[in-house]
């Protein structure tokens, strides 16, 4: 079990680095898909079955396919965009490394967990999550549909050709 955790973590970190450093955007998208599949494995390890399935469907099934469609429709696969200057790149690596160090130092001595509830491994099951979602979080769930429709309208507005601009 511990071995599986470290294997999945290694896959996630290596494919995450591939996302950043690979030349063509298609390779980045495919590495990100590998990273997300490994993350679904992590959710299963945590016994969060609902989240694992939703993650697979929403992220790997919808969002990454959306990315792939945009790259293929706009023909972005050629690496035409120049890299940043080397000073900026070194600064980016230093900033990322410093952020990592600060976060590790801040979270190294985390407090002991004192759970409010007795330990149970069943909280990630669909029935348990659904009960919480539709009892305590019913209003946010309904409000999120408003968010979705506004995002949809916004996407259509952006995607529409601007006729007033040309004439």
């Amino acid at each position: 079990m511990t071995f599986l955790f470290y294997l999945l973590s290694a896959i996630m970190i290596i494919s995450g680095l591939f996302v950043v450093f690979s030349k063509s955007p298609i390779n980045s998208v495919l590495s990100l898909i590998a990273c997300f599949i490994a993350m679904a494995g992590h959710y299963i390890l945590l016994n969060a079955q609902f989240l694992a399935v939703v993650h697979l469907i929403v992220y790997t099934g919808a969002i990454m396919v959306l990315f792939l469609f945009v790259i293929m429709l706009l023909n972005l696969n050629k690496a035409t965009i120049p890299q940043k200057t080397s000073v900026t790149r070194i600064a980016a690596v230093v900033a990322g490394g410093v952020f990592f160090l600060v976060m590790v130092a801040a979270t190294r001595h985390t407090l002991e967990i004192h759970p409010r509830y007795a330990f149970t491994s069943q909280i990630g099951l669909v029935s348990e999550v659904g009960r919480t979602l539709f009892h305590e979080f019913l209003l946010p769930f309904e409000v999120s549909s408003v968010l979705f429709i506004s995002a949809m309208i916004g996407a259509v507005m952006f995607g529409k050709k601007d006729e007033t601009h040309n004439s």
Partner: protein
């Protein structure tokens, strides 16, 4: 099933924190490192997901299903964000015929 749920008790929570901090740093590095807008959007997704995994891990260790619902809401917001972000990218490609982030410097001081 019994085997899987025992992973929560074997692996310390610190390891999840380290993993998620590493992934978040990689996402941050990608945002600072690249000029391609679509890669930057993907790195933002990576950061979203590292935080999601951490929230799910805390929820599992505390046996609190509210955390998992919260992850579900973060996924909803991320999906909406990606739809709008990609449509902005399509509009940018149509108007300036490039996805270089450095061309969007009108609001820079």
């Amino acid at each position: 099933m019994q085997d899987i749920s025992s992973a929560i008790q074997i692996i310390p929570l610190d390891h999840y924190i380290f993993l998620c901090v590493t992934l978040f740093s990689i996402g941050l590095l990608g945002v600072l490192f690249r000029r391609n807008t679509i890669i930057i959007l993907m790195c933002i997704e990576l950061m979203f997901n590292s935080v999601n995994l951490l929230v799910a891990a805390f929820s599992a260790y505390h046996s609190d299903p509210a955390g998992q619902v919260f992850v579900f809401f973060i996924m909803i917001v991320a999906a909406a964000e990606v739809a709008v972000g990609l449509s902005i990218l399509v509009m940018m490609k149509r108007n300036v015929d490039s996805v270089d982030i450095n061309l969007l410097n009108r609001l820079k001081w």
